[in-house]
Homo-oligomer: 287 residues x 6
Amino acid sequence: MNNNLNRNVHTFIGCDKEYDESEIVIFGAPFDGTTSYRPGTRFASAAMRSESYSIETYSPYLDRDLRDIKVFDGGDLVLCFGNTEKVLCEIKNFTELIVSDGKLFVMIGGEHLVTFGAVQAALQRYPDLRIIHFDAHADMRDNYLSEKLSHATVMRRCWDLLGDNRIFQFGIRSGEKEEFEFSNKHNFINKFNFDGFVKTIKDLKDEPVYLSIDLDILDPADFPGTGTPEAGGVSFKELLSAVFEAMKLNIVGIDICELSPPYDLSGRSTSLACKLLREILLAVAKK
Amino acid sequence: MNNNLNRNVHTFIGCDKEYDESEIVIFGAPFDGTTSYRPGTRFASAAMRSESYSIETYSPYLDRDLRDIKVFDGGDLVLCFGNTEKVLCEIKNFTELIVSDGKLFVMIGGEHLVTFGAVQAALQRYPDLRIIHFDAHADMRDNYLSEKLSHATVMRRCWDLLGDNRIFQFGIRSGEKEEFEFSNKHNFINKFNFDGFVKTIKDLKDEPVYLSIDLDILDPADFPGTGTPEAGGVSFKELLSAVFEAMKLNIVGIDICELSPPYDLSGRSTSLACKLLREILLAVAKK
Amino acid sequence: MNNNLNRNVHTFIGCDKEYDESEIVIFGAPFDGTTSYRPGTRFASAAMRSESYSIETYSPYLDRDLRDIKVFDGGDLVLCFGNTEKVLCEIKNFTELIVSDGKLFVMIGGEHLVTFGAVQAALQRYPDLRIIHFDAHADMRDNYLSEKLSHATVMRRCWDLLGDNRIFQFGIRSGEKEEFEFSNKHNFINKFNFDGFVKTIKDLKDEPVYLSIDLDILDPADFPGTGTPEAGGVSFKELLSAVFEAMKLNIVGIDICELSPPYDLSGRSTSLACKLLREILLAVAKK
Amino acid sequence: MNNNLNRNVHTFIGCDKEYDESEIVIFGAPFDGTTSYRPGTRFASAAMRSESYSIETYSPYLDRDLRDIKVFDGGDLVLCFGNTEKVLCEIKNFTELIVSDGKLFVMIGGEHLVTFGAVQAALQRYPDLRIIHFDAHADMRDNYLSEKLSHATVMRRCWDLLGDNRIFQFGIRSGEKEEFEFSNKHNFINKFNFDGFVKTIKDLKDEPVYLSIDLDILDPADFPGTGTPEAGGVSFKELLSAVFEAMKLNIVGIDICELSPPYDLSGRSTSLACKLLREILLAVAKK
Amino acid sequence: MNNNLNRNVHTFIGCDKEYDESEIVIFGAPFDGTTSYRPGTRFASAAMRSESYSIETYSPYLDRDLRDIKVFDGGDLVLCFGNTEKVLCEIKNFTELIVSDGKLFVMIGGEHLVTFGAVQAALQRYPDLRIIHFDAHADMRDNYLSEKLSHATVMRRCWDLLGDNRIFQFGIRSGEKEEFEFSNKHNFINKFNFDGFVKTIKDLKDEPVYLSIDLDILDPADFPGTGTPEAGGVSFKELLSAVFEAMKLNIVGIDICELSPPYDLSGRSTSLACKLLREILLAVAKK
Amino acid sequence: MNNNLNRNVHTFIGCDKEYDESEIVIFGAPFDGTTSYRPGTRFASAAMRSESYSIETYSPYLDRDLRDIKVFDGGDLVLCFGNTEKVLCEIKNFTELIVSDGKLFVMIGGEHLVTFGAVQAALQRYPDLRIIHFDAHADMRDNYLSEKLSHATVMRRCWDLLGDNRIFQFGIRSGEKEEFEFSNKHNFINKFNFDGFVKTIKDLKDEPVYLSIDLDILDPADFPGTGTPEAGGVSFKELLSAVFEAMKLNIVGIDICELSPPYDLSGRSTSLACKLLREILLAVAKK
């Protein structure tokens, strides 16, 4: 058979290694079933794969190239809308496979609730797990319209598992009064920006860390393609710096959530997410 | 207090009567939690209320006026995404209230699954209920990715309750082979258009009838604002004629589903849905 | 000076003759100041000039070419929003110039109210003027929120000047009950389509006729780019046939109104309007 | 009657108090009839009410909650396009009602000209009125295409009433040479940003102040949803700080103008305007 | 390795057989380098693969299923913009591979010029080749701005190779006068619709036929997502019937061109193209 | 002939002088034929002319007015897609005409490759030419998919002509590793921002300088309307400052490239480009 007639394998740019040889696995969790306002994050991972061919594999920030590291793109999970518990279970099971093979995972959401599935898997292996949480929203409600599992409760559910002083929140600028009070009492919460991040990095030096990035931590000027854009956020440059700092820790799991491509005609939100993912992969990969 | 400083009551145009005096109640069921492809029907009822002020209360088709009939707009149900069973239960309960007051309801979806809640309520009161089903899709799967409750299974779930020969489908032009086979065996199914509709109208003359309109029965040329547009559909004029025919039956419940405003910038899909709703109300109201 | 460095004259395709030698003058009246719902028709004439370069000068319908007839493009009037009377006066004055030079004018709206300015000019010269009115809306209100001059009253204002039996309406499918009653009494009104058009053509054989085309007579499937799309309209082919018939009359003025480019991303509404204008020019030009 | 079957009252989030008990009244002035370029601000107040349900009632900036203050949402004025003077008169009359009841008003435009109606009402009660004017455009033309009443002349018309040294302009980065010269001579004008704002706040300490916010003072990066986006503006954070400072003055009237929802698909401009309105209400409300 | 961690092969729905076992090969030619107006057809084949998961593999028109036939999806050619000749050469070479393996190819454009590459390959093997050409535009210019290779000249270039009476054009409603004259003399041309198609089918009974479908033959109401929408086209149902007729001939090559996804926000043009491709594959496959 | 009936000359605002009297000539090069990802820059110059009427002729930054300087708008070149070499030749020839008349040219792209045509013309007259290059992308590939002429190779082609140490790059944040290495060796390259720009200005004091502005140097927050938006760019204010500094040099040619209007619904990218062009013209014009 002719070379040109190969199967049309579809991966994020530069992430075309085989599973067994890879140290990092990326995959999509295209679920937005509890999104209460504008849905669309289900399309994020597919959009990112397509859009990734508009960026380069090389980072002038890190002077490294995706072609030189080992990343496997596991494609997207097939998740059923309408049954939230099952979806989280499937995310958890899939993440466990990767974790149990000693690989690092980077999950592309989907809405922020998908984090809960991945955190459960990471926690099993790393009982001392800490979560660094970048977000515009506190996500600390105990329930949302009586539901326990929701994009608006996801960090509260994580707290249920981890307990006090193990979640570190940055950039938060929206939530109910009760959420801020709760986080002030039980977690480390920094409103609006990355103040206090240097100290957090120091404190978490020897701990296994899960980094959860809700992209709406970014100002909507930088990142309009999300369901609940919240003015007054951090810039891409600030986020990138914080991510580079975080990558120096003992990172055991990462997610990037809440890109909603349909609400950004220009494609630039998707493009930004691709660039951020490239930088994360290059920064976290073993030299 | 000044007259101009009244509360900002927000209804579908001309549907501003009080509940007690009304013979018809319209309400929204803004849920699209099982939508497997492009979501957005959750915004339909709110968009229709706003857009309705671009049409008139008078119908030149029927020479009747909304101002002369009695319709109450009950607003939108507050439905929680992520818990499908509870959503259906809330729809069922709300519909029962209206039915038990001897009023006719017209529900604005939302995805097509909301029909199942309303049908349950109608069936309780009308054990002989028949369903006339306008749609591009058969919606006759037994499950969708193992889930029993889905926009793709809604008519199968209705069949579970009603049994053979009580569902009459028109316009169907998409589905799995198994769905067409099932409907051929258990229901009356007419592919592509309204052939056979005259006979159905005749046969159902003395029966209580629920009319479920999935607006994607329309050709996407007429109605682009829906999540899974399917080429080859019926025209607005054909749909309007069929609806006028159906309104001559003993109609006990109606729904209009699957308008997804975000996918039609021009607003014309929403406008068409408003016009259709006006004609339905005028045609079904007692003289 | 080099040939390439000519001034950048901007006309509708093929309408590049000098004023003095032309028999037809087209111009834009970019005004939508009384539009009560979605504005944007102010951009129609400029959009049509740009878009016109995507069509050909040749018509396969008529086997004629714009390059072979004499049309001058007079550009757009500079109209001030906020002072409706003055705007109409400026349209009237400009149209009079063309009429007094014995040329035929084709005005590109703008909202439908601009017709009233042009009709006044035409009536001065042709006291027996008749109006053929293609529209989805009756435009026969006596006032709109107390205002006498509005897109919703324009044909009523024309009736004020012309009186009974001189306005012929086709395609009308929206309006208040009173408007339909008024038109039934004072004008010839045909609801929904072109029924009766052949007879109208016959009756108007020897009269001076103004043709006013509100493009929303078209079904929104064919023409989504308008502020108040109204389902159930005529097709482009039906409109084109009617226009060709009308062009056989003694046409003394024409307008094309209510294209609103911002509400049609695909550009096809603008493109259709360009094609219609080309066919009108070719059909009305002297052989 | 069942609780669920209440009328569908539609207010800005958290602004659901009765008129009589409220200290603040918000209302919409959906008029853009003199807008000379891209219209659409007529849709701002309705869009803000809908979009407001995507933000919280609680402000982490001020640690206050809309549920704890008394705001009545008076809905939208019904304004007729095409008669500018009448529109301004209606705005003036309505504002006077609120002012005469000793309540503070916050008007949501609409184009910037609506300010002139509200300023007239405020001036009647507060003859010493000062205006703080945030804008990208000077709005100081004496006329626009001969018209005295226009979005481009609104501050000049206010100056006609107030005279020298009572208008304080910030952020201005667009206008004709004559406008800048006029403002330099008669008003306090600060180009591009908020330099000098601290001094202004000091100087106006004991005066009744009207704050007029043309949202296009914001950089289009932060706020694309406006008709004439002007690069080089202030950031949301800068605007928010300035607004918080201003709220310490004796504020007697406020407006927020020039949001044009149709030109921002992502909804983030509307969301920003909602957030700004929430912060204004919380900052200005009596403790 | 776990089953879930397979490579993410990306094909058109149901077209997942291996090359060697397949009788039909589909592939994309994502080139729009000579498009003179709105570009974007380069995104068609990728968009169709994604969108195809919103349709079913089963056709209720033909009662057949893609899962039961053998189609290989060869992915997209990597084509360089800026060098038209090389692009056509690469298309030709790739098509030859398929043809020489005795398989039928279905090429997804791209602009219409890509047809010329595929026709050259087909002609080599089938010297008696005929072309059935569905289009709104004649594409019969001898050159476009002096260039011989252009979307506007593609059928003229085919005529250069095939000569008289071997190209059969349907639906043509745009072109220069010279193009219509040329086609009237040298080809079979039918303006506007499919009149005469039955006879063509009869005449071509024993000949090898290449079917080239420029999707803009469709009315823009049915298919807005194309670069030069031309009002007055055929309906989807008419096109589908004609395609079914054509599939009864000795078809040796097929292309589907000029879908431009960026100009249709609703996705329905892409969805229609997917459905058409499914029907073509099912109709042309050996029983 | 009446004054109102002049020809509809279409220029950038305020650039309405005659060629002979002008010291600056602006013209459009609407070509995007080698654009490998999202095309659309071909529409930039026409969009800018239309949009320019939303800005003023007066600059509050420079206190100067376009009405007081002499600029001729030469319209757009008619460029044929599909033949890249010919396009560059036509740009070169046209630019030479202007240069040979001793006038300064400002070319509006189109994609960045158009720069190569203009640089060739400038180099003929100014053998010591230097290029200041503002861009997000290095554009230093030796070829792109084997093609020598591409938007991705344009600065490499310029280097072929100019040699070492004559190209000065700022803002670069994307490219292949090899491009950065090449530029580090042969050019002055500054990554991400304008660091080092002051020194460059000093060093180029007595040299003839061509300024090439790829607008995607701007952060996508400020400038979403471009084909390959790259997060992490400079702000409009930073760009404007740098441009003002550059205008103090001996500028002999300028281009502004890569605005792609279709990808920015709000029009603000086009508006920013207009404002930038106004400031460039005012800053570079002789006092």
